[in-house]
Each structure stands twice: as C-alpha cells, then as structure tokens.
Symmetry: C2
C-alpha cells in the first residue's frame, strides 16, 4: 500500500505549531491502528500535541477517526431513551453507583460503560466488584436485555469500541502525555459517541484531586467535550465540580459501595447526595424529563429497587456482606478545633497505597482497603476523637499511607477560613 | 535491579519546562541504552527537549552520559598532535576530502571519523567510496598506523563509540526531533570527545541548505558545542559558514571527489578553496602551528601527496578513473543576464533524487549521480549556455529532480541583488 503521508512530516508540522488536516488525522489514526506508524512516532506526536495543542476542528477529526477505528454500538432497538454520564475522575467519586439506578428508575436507559482505576482515582468497576458475584463483563445482547428490563447496566467497554483510543491511551500513560485537553477530550468522547448514547452528562472535575487542577483548564475541557458531543448528535452538557476535598466520607471500593447504598436508602453524606441529584436532574432533563422529582425516588425506595435489580442482573448479591479489611488504623485529632482542610490528592494517594488502587494495569485491587473519614471540612472536632480510619489487608501498608497524609489535613480554630476551594458545583456548560 | 527514577516523572518534568538533574540524565541514558526505558518514552522525552530546551549543564550531562555508554578511543601513543573537524552538513560540502590531507601534510594527525549521508546532505564516506578499492572500515590498530605514517584517515566510526547516541539518533530521525540544539550538540560532541581528539574545529552551517537555517540558531549551536569541547579538555573552535548556495560546482559523490582533487592540485572553485584554507588554518592553529602556510601546501603538491597516500592506505587507487553516469541532462539558460540566485536546498534535493543520496539507511547511493554547476551566483550567462548538468544512471530520475529545481535559480539583469545571504564565512566562535 502506498501511504499518502509521511508521518515524520506530520510530527514536524505539529511540532512547529501547525495544524493537521482532516485527511492527515484520519490517515494518522488509521496508520497507527494498523501498526504502520510506530509507537515511538505516536509518542512524539502526542508530546507535540500536548505542548502545542490542537484546534477544535483537529480535535473533532481526531475523535471521529478514533470512533471509525472500531465498531459503533446502537440502542435503536430500545423503546427507552438512553442517557449516559462520564466523570473525569476524582477521590471518593462513587457517584455512578447511586446515579445509574436513580436515573433508570425514571424509565430511562443508562448504559454505563466504565473503566478500572489507575493511579490515585478509583474505578467504578473495581468498586462494584467488591459485591459478591457481580461481574463487569456483559455481552451486547445481555446489555440490551438488562437495559430493557432494569434500565441500568454498568459494565466494561468491549475492546471493539475505538481501539485506536485504547492503544493511544496506553501509550499516553507511559509517555507523560495524559493531561492534555485535546487528547483527554477525544479519548473520552470517542468512546462515548461510539457507545451510541443519545444523551451524555459530563462531570468535569477541577482542584487538587483532579487530573486538571485548574478550573480554567477544566472549563476548556468541558466546553471542548460538549461541542464534540453536540457535533456528533449527542445531547451533551457538563457540570464543573470541585475536587479539592474527597467526595463523601468513603475512599476505596467496598466502603464506597456501602456509602452509595446509604444514598440510595435516602441518607448518605450531603455532598454525595447533592452531586448525585444534580447529575440525575441533568441526565433526566436531556432525556426529556425536566420536572422529574429525583429526591422522591431516593426517599421512596424506587432507586434502591432498581439498584438491587441492576446488581442481581449482573450476578451480584445485593444482600451479601461486603468484604472487611484484616487491619485498621485510626488517626485521631491531636487538638480540639475545626477541621479547616482535607486535601483530596493526598487522601487519594493514601487509599491507593493501602491497596485500593493499582500501580500497573495488571495489578489486582484490594476491595476492603481504603479510608473512612469521620469529619469533613467545617466540622468541629475534639482532641482524641477519630478523624479517619485506614483499612488494609497488610499492616505494612499503613506507614507509607500515613506518610502521604502528612500536611493533608489541618485543625484550626473557629473563624479560620475553611479551605475547600468554593462550592461543590461551580458551573454548568451546555445547552 | 531497583530503578532510582520513574521515567514518566522525568518526561513530565521536562514537559513542564523543568530541568533534569545530573543523576536523572545519567540514569535516563543508561536505562535507555539497556532497554529499560522504551523507545516511545525516549521519543516523548526527545520531543519535550526539542520544544522546551535544555540548560547548558543538562546538555553537558547528556553528552557525558552518552560518552560513558560506550568506549573511548585514545591517540596517546601517537607522537603527533591530533586534530579533527566536523561539519553539520551541507549541499556540495566535500571539504573533508581536501582538508584532511592538507592539514596532515603539516605533520598533524587527522583522525576523521565520518558518516554516511541521509536526506539531502551527502556523506563523506559515500563520496570516497566512489574511488575504486577504497574502504571505509579500518581497525583501530590500522587507524593508528595510518595516522603515524600518512597523518590522515577518514573512516567509519565503530559502533562502540557512544552507542546511546547511535540509538537516540536513529530514534530522532523517525520522530521529527532532529533539529534541536541540545540534541544535535550532544550527539556530535559525544562522538567527537569519545574519539579522543585533542583539538576540534567545527564547521557550523546556516542558511537554506543547512539543518538549522537561522544564523542565530547556528551560532547558539556553535557556542554550545565549543563550550562542551572546552569542558571536556578538547581545544575547540567553530566557523559559522553560509549554506544558502551549494558549495563549489559539484554536488554528488564522484564529481565531488574530482573537485576535491582539483583543489589539492592548486585549483578548484574559489569558495571551496576559501573554506578549505580557513578550516585548515583553524585546525593548525589549535595544533600549535598558527603560522603554517596552508596555500603553499596546496600549490607545491604536499597536500596532494598526502591525499594519494591516504587513499592508498585504505585500499583505494588514486589514479583509477572515477565512475561516470549512464545518462546526463543539460539545463541551459533561457535568457541572457546574471545568475542572481542558486538555492542550496533544492539543488541538494535534486541531487538526492538523481541517486546521489539515500532515503533509508540501508539504501545504496549511485556514485556517479549528481549535479555539475556551470555558473555560480554573480556570473554572467548567455541564452542557451549550459547552466548545470544532471547525471544519473536511470533516465527516469530526471523529471523529479528537475521538479525540485523549479524556482531554485534565477537569471536577472545587471544591477540586481545577488542573493547569497552574505559572505561564505560569517563568524568564528571560540578562543
């Protein structure tokens, strides 16, 4: 086959702040997928994109080319409308767990293709796998059945969706080219568009525990993704949400399932409830139910019923006891006062070091490892009271986790500024 | 083995405009040489270095680390002083051929480890291989013998010198990361320092036919390399020379040998003589002979005698006829006037398309292919007179070569500006 472009010319073009044409991008992604463009060439291109950026048109072309590298799913056979949610990832972010059944309880289909955690942010599939019997792998036929009967399914994306993205994502992970707006936006949106949802709500995080810490960058990412969705005919909106503080009181896997069930039972921490309700309203609005009474579905057990059906449909036992860690370590307040700071990133790293996350793709996670917080910023604490409990299967993990938490929280006096970086939901992007 | 650094952290550091420590650079080069750091990771690092640069200290550390990846040669056993020359490469740049024997005729040892051409600039070894019987491969023992007896040797660098550079250079070539001052400087200087010369003169080109077209960038490269040489105890200086116009009248391989022999016989084009003499003076000055009468050695046959001995020592027959091309094509002046422009780059590309150069490392060159110029900028030309002759073994090569020359030369009228971009030798850098 005669190649229409020279990949070195394309790399040099982006390196020198040029734009890549639609034809060049389509060829690049195709040639990379079939192995004609080598990993080292794509790595150089990814770094050039990271440092020199891409125009909106280039990002759209990249997204479409990655979609075209694989198959597209379709939920046209469903009588329900489909709506999906994606979070850019944060510490204690278990929102998918209560959200999917909550939205599904309104007769909307929520096909939630999720991933596993890598680094300090957890993965939805890892959390659900702490439920006895639950399996992430579901065939496309069974997925449609569950959507029809139950309404919500959370499962692993098949390798047939946007394989170019799968290959590029693995490359970015080892070449320091993850936190790039064009690359993040095209990666997320290629999978979501290929998945065939008709509506999509994005939870784009900012703050110390997010991939993009700066709110201006997160806003740009959100705007880019919303435009990509709209261009592809997917009704898309985004919430910009604060990830300076861990979300909720549980960071880990089994403990996040427990907290999610509390929310579905009408309780749970205020921030988790607030974000779950806001995202559910957004999803239902895009699905044509702007007036849905979301809180009522949490209060009256409809969301919980859907949760139980959703877990059972994938082989899980919603009544089984969740795994407990072999060892725990309680950290207490050394003084009385007000908890004024609780930084997301170090708590995420600490939970990861306890075994809740993985360093390499092939590593397992320890489902009972993690952190339970006993106070949130603004709470009054008394000397000697438990501030948080660390859980791990291996006691030798505690010291490095505690090391990560050095300076990560602070007890001040009444009147000190509470450092949370503003409200939980900073803005909404999209029509 | 426990690795002291995480390569992704190092890539991210350079990506974010940080500096790499001495320990980090030493580890990176070592880990890349032994294959622990993957090509795609080094490609991302190379692009980050290309776009964000390196401090002088980092460049020095990179150079030293690449030297330490292999062996060092030593000419301590020689009674002669050693001096070497390196050119960053240009169109028609055959200067090594007359220069090495000229300098050696003054009793100085010139161990000239050279490369092959890739792209539009030719390689010294390719040119010499058009001489019947001449071989580029010489053992270290034989090299020392030739230096002792003849004084000059031009041969291929062994793979034992700076192997990290060999690996990185091949990677840069396919990842669009060639034209970077830190990477060029460390690549050239690691090999030259490992080679063990006590003095080094650099011919750093600028202009349309050079790797770095901008004179300010070429000056920075020259200053960087001179500092690296001095730091390593090698007496180093550099000339900044103009590569907007092809050097001499011959571009190719056999025809460049012919032109070099003309210079050694006391004739040859004025620009080739000027640069040969200037570089010879510089090399002899660094070797302790500031008053050497270089022109006399060209006039009285001493340089020619050394040339003949040098060629014979490597199996070549200095009296054998040079190969002639099967086909020639003459381009004539379409009007009378003054030749006001003759651009190096298109002439280099045209010669390369005729077969004088190679597209891939493993390709052979055609020794008789190339271009002979019959006029230089400033010359008066008459309608119908030959302007240049293209030579090739395969007549189908002419059309693409002629295509490259479209707009590459221009005949004006008396009084028009002659476009050469200034004098041949723009500046001298170093002590």
């Amino acid at each position: 086959m005669i190649e229409p472009f020279d990949v070195v010319d394309l790399i040099r073009g982006k390196r020198d702040r040029g734009t890549l044409s639609t034809e060049q991008i389509r060829w690049l992604v195709d040639a990379y997928t079939r192995g004609y463009v080598a990993d080292e060439q794509m790595a150089a291109m990814a770094m050039a994109i990271f440092l020199n950026g891409m125009e909106r048109r280039e990002i759209r072309d990249l997204t479409l080319a990655m979609i075209d590298s694989g198959e597209r799913m379709s939920f046209d056979g469903l009588t329900k409308r489909t709506t999906d949610k994606h979070s850019t990832g944060g510490v204690g972010d278990k929102i998918t767990l209560p959200l999917a059944p909550l939205v599904a309880s309104f007769g909307v289909a929520v096909p939630q293709l999720s991933g596993r955690g890598l680094g300090h942010t957890g993965g939805t599939l890892d959390k659900l796998e702490s439920i006895q019997g639950w399996r992430a792998s579901v065939s496309t036929e069974r997925m449609t059945e569950i959507l029809d009967e139950v309404g919500a399914v959370v499962c692993a994306a098949g390798s047939g969706l946007a394989p170019a993205d799968g290959k590029l994502y693995a490359l970015r992970d080892i070449t320091g080219t993850v936190e790039s707006i064009p690359l993040i936006a095209s990666s997320i949106m290629s999978k979501k568009i290929a998945e065939g949802t008709s509506a999509l709500v994005l939870d784009v995080k900012f703050g110390s525990g997010a991939f993009l810490t700066d709110i201006a960058q997160s806003r740009e990412l959100a705007e880019t993704m919303v435009a990509l969705g709209e261009d592809a005919g997917v009704a898309t909106s985004a919430l910009l949400t604060n990830m300076n503080v861990p979300l909720g009181l549980a960071i880990g896997n089994a403990n996040e399932v427990r907290e999610s069930v509390e929310v579905l039972a009408g309780g749970g921490p205020a921030d988790v409830v607030e974000l779950t309700v806001a995202l559910a309203r957004e999803m239902l609005r895009l699905a044509g139910q702007p007036d849905a009474d979301v809180e009522a579905a949490l209060r009256d057990g409809r969301a919980m019923d859907t949760w139980r059906a959703m877990i059972s449909a994938q082989g899980g036992d919603p009544d089984a006891a969740l795994p407990a860690a072999r060892e725990t370590h309680v950290v207490t307040a050394t003084t009385s006062g007000v908890l004024v700071e609780q930084q997301a990133l170090p708590f995420g790293i600490a939970a990861w070091r306890l075994g809740a996350g993985r360093a390499r793709k092939q590593d397992p996670v320890q489902h009972a490892a993690g952190i339970d917080l006993h106070a949130k910023p603004g709470d009054t604490v008394t000397e000697g009271q438990p501030l948080f409990t660390l859980s791990a299967d291996e006691p030798e993990r505690f010291s490095r986790a505690i090391e990560a938490l050095d300076g990560a929280y602070r007890i001040g006096t009444d009147g000190d500024e509470i450092v949370t970086g503003g409200p939980l939901i900073a803005d909404r992007i999209g029509s």
